[in-house]
């Protein structure tokens, strides 16, 4: 491999990749995660509060979204919402897809709250909405946060799938550079290392957080 590695190419592609990483990949991850975290919470609460038949349908819809590929969903939205730019579509696809996973995390967090908390809220006549907002969600969030973080990392590593709808994220830049300069080694290696450099420390952080937040 030593013979093929060209430091000049490496130096040439690195700034391009870093720029795409910051302006696209990170933005996609952050916005996507925020959407997923908000929607996931909505699903988790809805699954508990909606009447059984409706919540069953919702659970099924979430299953379908969770069990079908992200690129296919990206294509679908791309053709349905032709008027939207691809970044917006990417936000929606990442957000909705991962909201189904985060909903599961929230569910586990909500289930871990002791029954006495709900009962105390009833005994104080707190309305449902206030019980969720002031009592249940803050406690569930604490139990759920590391898991949400892990799904955000998973989303981060899935962003290159959005190549299919033409989002110019980091791996797209790598492929373009590789194609134009007839060398892929540097571009894809550096892209991989950037992913690793960002995701590994975050994953370690989440593991620590998990230990620290455990009651």
């Amino acid at each position: 491999m030593g013979i093929n590695w060209d430091w000049q190419d490496a130096a040439g592609v690195f700034p391009l990749l870093l720029e795409a990483f910051v302006t696209k990949t990170l933005v996609l991850t952050v916005v996507g995660s925020l959407i997923a975290a908000a929607l996931g919470l909505v699903w988790a609460v809805a699954l508990r509060e909606l009447p059984t038949p409706v919540s069953k349908v919702l659970a099924w819809v979430l299953d379908v979204i969770r069990m079908t590929p992200l690129p296919l969903q990206a294509f679908f939205l791309y053709y349905v919402f032709v008027q939207l730019d691809v970044m917006t579509i990417a936000f929606i696809v990442l957000g909705v897809h991962y909201s189904t996973y985060m909903a599961e995390s929230y569910r586990a967090g909500i289930e871990s709250i002791r029954k006495g908390q709900w009962e105390a809220a009833t005994a104080l006549s707190l309305p449902k909405s206030r019980t969720w907002r002031a009592v249940i969600v803050p406690q569930a969030l604490r139990a759920t946060l590391p898991s949400l973080g892990n799904w955000a990392i998973a989303m981060f590593k899935d962003t290159p799938f959005l190549i299919v709808i033409g989002v110019a994220e980091m791996v797209t830049s790598a492929r373009e550079y590789g194609g134009e300069n007839f060398t892929y080694v540097e571009a894809f290696t550096i892209a991989g290392l950037i992913f690793l450099a960002a995701s590994y420390p975050t994953a370690v952080l989440m593991r620590r957080l998990e230990k620290r937040l455990a009651y």
């Binding site: 006495g116 105390a120 009833t122 005994a123 104080l124 006549s125 707190l126 309305p127 406690q139």
Partner: protein, 271 residues
């Protein structure tokens, strides 16, 4: 009888001034196939303190939980100040009441739990002011002033900013009592409030409750194994077995000279 309600009470008050505070009428409670209460009838007058005793599984705690609407009422009716709680009789039919109506009546009832059930994500003061602010619509200042007053009463004036997890069990339970009182309940339900405490912490909690009993005329329903406390505080003791009241008497009679052999047996075992 305006003097009956010196604590002020919720503005929506009772529909009938003369109605007993609590009425259980033909109450049935089943858990699956297990019948816990089968046609229970009893009445509690305003300001009365009633202790429920009996072996575990006899249905005492279920009665409190039904009143607090923590359990679904399988059959019969419960009335609070003459208002139906969860079910009402309409045109000869038993109809479930709307959640909004249930909430209006439930607001007159407070409860202290065996496991305290303080909210761990709030500090002591927030635990107490949460419901007055968001249920009774009191201002933050008003609610906090009252909360501090109550904390003084339960001997925790310096713990307003503490977190529940930093407190001992006895202190947590005293906060829970203050939290229940902050809602100015007409009825207070005490569900084995000292059972989860280390023996040396029981006294401080019972002390607080004695004060509450002395200084207010909140109607109390008490489930406890502390017979000494029951004797001091209550006007009446109901002995339960298998979901039925098998004996009913004033505490001094009940504890010194019960008529039923089953009661005698039970008291011998716990005293």
């Amino acid at each position: 009888m305006p003097t009956d309600n010196p604590t002020g009470g919720p503005a929506d008050g009772s529909t009938s001034g003369d109605a007993p505070r609590i009425v259980f009428q033909d109450v049935v409670k089943k858990f699956g196939d297990t019948v816990v209460l089968n046609g229970l009838n009893f009445t509690v007058a305003k300001g009365e303190r009633v202790t429920l005793i009996g072996p575990s599984g006899s249905g005492k705690t279920t009665i409190l939980r039904l009143l607090m609407t923590l359990e679904h009422l399988t059959g019969g009716y419960i009335y609070v100040d003459g208002d139906p709680l969860t079910f009402e009789e309409r045109n000869g039919k038993r109809v479930e009441r709307k959640p909004k109506d249930v909430a209006r009546v439930r607001r007159r009832i407070g409860m202290v739990f065996q496991q305290f059930n303080l909210f761990p994500n709030m500090n002591v003061l927030e635990n107490i002011t949460e419901a007055p602010i968001h249920v009774l619509g009191r201002s933050k200042d008003e609610a906090e002033a009252r909360a501090r007053e109550l904390l003084e009463q339960v001997g925790l004036g310096d713990k307003a900013d503490a977190h529940p997890t930093q407190l001992s069990g006895g202190q947590q339970q005293r906060v829970a009592i203050a939290r229940a009182l902050a809602m100015d309940p007409e009825i207070l339900l005490l569900d084995e409030v000292t059972s989860a405490l280390d023996p040396e912490l029981v006294g401080e909690v019972l002390g607080v409750l004695r004060e509450v009993a002395k200084n207010t005329d909140i109607t109390m329903l008490i489930v406890t194994h502390e017979m000494q406390f029951a004797q001091e505080v209550s006007n009446r003791v109901l002995m339960f077995d298998h979901g039925r009241i098998i004996e009913e008497a004033a505490p001094d009679v009940m504890f010194s000279n019960p008529t039923e052999p089953r009661t005698r047996e039970f008291l011998q075992a716990v005293l």
